[in-house]
Symmetry: C2
Subunit: 348 residues, 2 copies
């Protein structure tokens, strides 16, 4: 309803064809002052959109449901009846989501992380395996819960018997900040993409602080076979590096549209990036149960080719992995999919 | 930045005088297409605002920090150097915030609540007292954490030695829904003010389910002297009624702008509302440590007078209470203040 506006558009992936793109659709003004745009029947998915009113990006005043992704707030809706049923809150047992603060001596600060514990965790004495799950550049410890629907995906897969009950730890991979924007002592800062210490090795070096906290605060076997690690984009880069830098620690490794190739690892002075060829060979020799990679066919060439080069390196030494190439590019649609696939393969 | 817009305004309490009102301020268009409005120096407070662009309510595209309150999304900012320092994330030990699901047989469903546990809870064997903290009509289990800054207030008061470490349980007082809009099986429903079972006694009748869950899942003495109950508006109404309906259960009762007088309790068939005069006398005879009431002088007459009548009833039987009247009306500014005051009085 914008009787005084001259131009209104909707942006998102609302035409049923480009399920992974952000496209702007002009809206038409009706006599009553209501602007409309009619989508075709849309496939089942978790959708994000926003309006632009006379040149100003805005949320839909008729939809109270919105998510912040880096610095933008977008509205969301969900169409079920297909894959997005995994992303819904269904009438199944729900796990707990907790925001906790842990001591990171390596960063000289207390830091915030999110922990999903599976249904029944609190009323049990059993030990549960752990999936460490990392966000991309510009994200934070809330990204996998908001855009990624991680707690809904885990609840639903566990209820269907498709995933083992597990703890999921969602860290903040930007070690120059202790918490998501607005949740730390820096206050309501403007979220940005490239913070100090982004992809310089510091997150990987200090990841031991996260593991120590989790393994002393949660009931988990703390063995290689009970640890999985995965991440999207920058988080996939973190995942690859952590699985190299902490040898023989993870039986399951998942790279989702991993930002391999974005930084020349060998030019970085961090010990994380030294002798990676030798470390990779050692990782292969130590063995693991699953090294899984997902990639959108339309991802950025730097990322697509960086992963291709990495797979060729693995091929050259005979290192096993599974590779899934999906439609679309560097999007949450793919990452929700990859988590849904990867989680079903863990701890079995 | 809205070069194509014809009219832009900012709404909030941005003139330094009306710290509790929602006022609309016209903005002026500059040559560059940037619209401006300059506030005077504003007092320390947690502020909420939104823009209106050519008649359409919108968020500030330059501010990624926003909170949903019932059906509206507003931007927020905080000015420190005064009372709002209590509402900031400071460099102090932080408690944990967890979203948990509990079984409510009285409502035939699993329901979601928020729990704040104080710093050190997880690495201790001590028992902690519990404050049950209720939202107003249209709110949910996220309201006290978002608009109410409850976890920041508790962290800061505990760090300053002004409040005892305590567990704070924030329920969803709308028993027709299992969780906040978007967090339950109803999906991304439109938040509304009056849902089925709003203030009909059902929340109070089934509150035993909440207490049972908390007292079997958290380390707490489960005694009268370790239980406090408080709420704002509808939550203050719930608080008054629960403290009557569960006799001799709470040593601390807090009514924040309580919606007394909104519904004629005696015409409601729920057992919660029967014989309230007798129950009140019994509550007085059983004794308690603190019955605290806060009220804004500009609150709605129905609520202001409803509380006046209730205090007169307490006076008439010689029942003790403390009453604080503050500036402004039915606003989160007052409720954050009331929580800050009330929490310091508990469990000492």
């Amino acid at each position: 309803m914008a009787p005084n506006a001259k131009e209104v558009s909707a942006s998102g992936s609302l035409d049923g064809e480009h399920a992974f793109a952000n496209i702007t659709y002009e809206m038409q003004k009706g006599d009553s002052g209501v602007w409309t745009f009619t989508t075709p029947v849309l496939p089942s998915e978790f959708y994000r959109y926003h309006f632009t009113v006379d040149g100003v990006r805005t949320v839909d005043p008729a939809n109270a449901h919105a998510i912040r992704d880096v610095g933008n707030i977008s509205n969301v809706f969900l169409i079920g009846g297909g894959k997005a049923d995994l992303y819904k809150v269904n009438d199944v047992p729900h796990g707990t989501v907790a925001y906790r603060w842990y001591n990171s001596p390596g960063n000289g600060m207390m830091r915030r992380l999110s922990v999903y514990t599976p249904p029944g965790y609190e009323n049990s004495t059993a030990k549960f395996p752990v999936l460490y799950l990392f966000h991309g550049v510009g994200g934070d410890e809330e990204a996998w819960l908001g855009s990624g629907r991680a707690s809904e995906i885990m609840d639903n897969l566990i209820a269907q018997g498709k995933a083992e009950p597990m703890i999921v730890v969602m860290t903040n991979g930007n070690v120059s900040q202790e918490a998501a924007p607005g949740e730390g002592i820096q206050g309501f800062v403007k979220p940005t993409f490239m913070l100090p210490h982004t992809m310089d090795g510091k997150f990987e070096e200090t990841f031991i602080d996260v593991m120590k906290f989790i393994e002393s605060n949660y009931r988990t076997p703390a063995t290689k076979e009970s640890r999985a690690i995965a991440g999207l984009s920058m988080g996939g880069f973190h995942t690859a590096n952590i699985s190299l830098y902490y040898p023989n620690t993870f039986d399951y490794v998942g790279l989702f549209s991993s930002a391999l190739g974005v930084r020349p690892m060998n030019n970085n002075p961090s010990p994380v990036y030294q002798n990676q060829d030798e470390k990779l060979k050692q990782q292969m020799e130590n063995g693991y149960k699953l090294y899984w990679m997902g990639m959108g066919v339309d991802d950025m060439p730097m990322i697509y080719n960086g992963n291709k080069n990495f797979r060729e390196k693995m091929d050259s030494i005979g290192m096993k992995y599974e590779y899934v190439e999906s439609k679309g590019g560097h999007t949450w649609n793919n990452w929700r999919d990859y988590l849904s696939i990867f989680a079903q393969r863990l701890f079995k």
